[in-house]
């Protein structure tokens, strides 16, 4: 009888150990090297400390055209952030000339070339507003993950492994070069090695798509204590602009052949 009870102990212990291992995984996702974790956390904490800031990001996006060839399109985006509830982005590129406004009450997309805009009511802070726009309508602000207050947690949520690649320069600025591995993408980030650990470059690679298309962003013109006027964030429709609707995220539509 006593032996049987004793034999139960290891089973209970193993269940407990399994539970602890599982709970541990949830709080510390992935297997991230200490140096990589430190650099990413420093950047996240520093960005969180900024109240009002602006930067420019020059992006390239690979697009696989039907014959399987890769074509690269460029875009320059000026981003203005005033925490907790103002965001503006002006995107000018090969494919579109679009502006994003968030004034604490609503999100507006304005296509300057086509002179159309769409507005939707959104929650009262940047993060819930971005989540709502993304979930309900599939609208995403480029590199929005970086401006989330807990950027570290958001960025590493789906990461399996993180690696420190080395100290490398991006347009003359010495940066920590990090690599993060997820299921279907890998992403790299270059974080300035200084008292102001700002992101300087991001590369996202789709691993499982033919051609391995990449998104690249170079961030520059950082102004970490910018004076940003209220009217920068408020959209006023030009007289010749037409208001249009936004299709809900699932759409249920079919592409016309």
């Amino acid at each position: 009888m006593r032996i049987r009870i004793l034999l139960f102990i290891p089973i209970l212990c193993s269940m407990l150990a399994g539970y602890i291992a599982f709970a541990g995984d949830a709080s510390n996702p992935g297997n991230i090297e200490t140096k990589a974790e430190q650099a990413l956390r420093q950047m996240s904490d520093y960005l969180k400390s900024l109240k009002a800031f602006r930067f420019r990001t020059e992006n390239t996006t690979d697009e696989i055209v039907l014959a399987g060839s890769k074509v690269q399109f460029g875009q320059t985006v000026d981003v203005y952030v005033r925490r907790p509830d103002r965001l503006r982005a002006n995107a000018k590129g090969d494919l579109e000339n679009q502006q994003f406004f968030y004034d604490g009450k609503s999100v507006t997309l304005f296509n300057k070339d086509k002179k159309v805009y769409a507005t939707l009511k959104a929650p009262g802070e940047i993060e819930p507003a971005l989540e709502y726009a993304q979930d309900a309508f599939g609208i995403n602000a480029p590199l929005a993950d970086l401006i989330y207050r807990d950027a570290y947690r958001v960025l590493t949520a789906n990461v399996h492994a993180g690696h420190y690649i080395g100290l490398h320069r991006v347009r003359g600025v010495q940066c920590h070069h990090l690599l993060f591995v997820q299921d279907d993408i890998d992403w790299q980030i270059w974080i300035e090695n200084s008292q102001t650990p700002l992101p300087r470059k991001v590369v996202i690679t789709s691993k499982w798509l033919a051609g391995g298309p990449q998104f690249t962003a170079w961030m520059s013109y950082w102004k970490t204590s910018a004076r940003l006027a209220e009217d920068l964030f408020v959209f006023t429709a030009p007289a010749d602009a037409q208001q249009i609707e936004i299709l809900p995220a699932d759409g249920g539509m079919r592409e016309k052949k």
Binding site: I3, L6, I9, P10, C13, S14, M15, A17, T61, D62, E63, I64, V65, E96, L109, K114, V116, E131, Q134, D135, F137, G138, N140, P142, A144, D145, V154, L155, A157, N158, H160, A161, V181, Q182, I185, W187, I204, T205, S206, K207, W208, L209, A210, G212, P213, Q214, F215, Q242, I244, E245, I246, L247, P248, A249, D250, G252, M253, R254, E255, K256
Partner: protein, 119 residues
């Protein structure tokens, strides 16, 4: 009696160790992850373009759905240059080769949805 207890004790310790070791994923054995191997596999995904998604978003999502009715539902990403812009009851339409379209946002993209003749 003492000997018997100590034997059981050893067994218990061994089994405990084995169970813990197995359930924590064999922590002593290090399985290197060859992270730099990138396998490209054609997914046969169709569409206009295939964009790498900045996918580091929160996993737990609230899902909001709004229901709209679009009469015909077919859409295109761009209109040919022969299309004519028409404003009918203060709404902008695009008339191309006998078909009327209206502009909508689909995410960040503009699409042109085929609609019934508004006249």
């Amino acid at each position: 009696m003492d000997k018997r207890i100590s034997k059981i004790g050893i067994k218990v310790i061994l089994i405990t160790f084995l169970c813990v070791w197995m359930t924590t994923g064999f922590p002593v054995i290090h399985i290197p992850q060859n992270v730099l191997v990138v396998e490209a596999e054609a997914q046969g995904r169709r569409g206009r373009y295939v964009r790498p998604q900045p996918a580091n978003r929160r996993t737990a999502r609230r899902v909001h759905r709004r229901h709209h009715h679009y009469r015909t539902g077919a859409y295109v990403y761009s209109l040919s240059s022969d299309c004519r812009e028409e404003v009918i009851s203060s709404k902008r339409y695009y008339y191309c080769d006998g078909v009327y379209y209206q502009a909508y946002y689909q995410g960040n993209d503009l699409v042109y949805v085929e609609v019934e003749d508004p006249r």
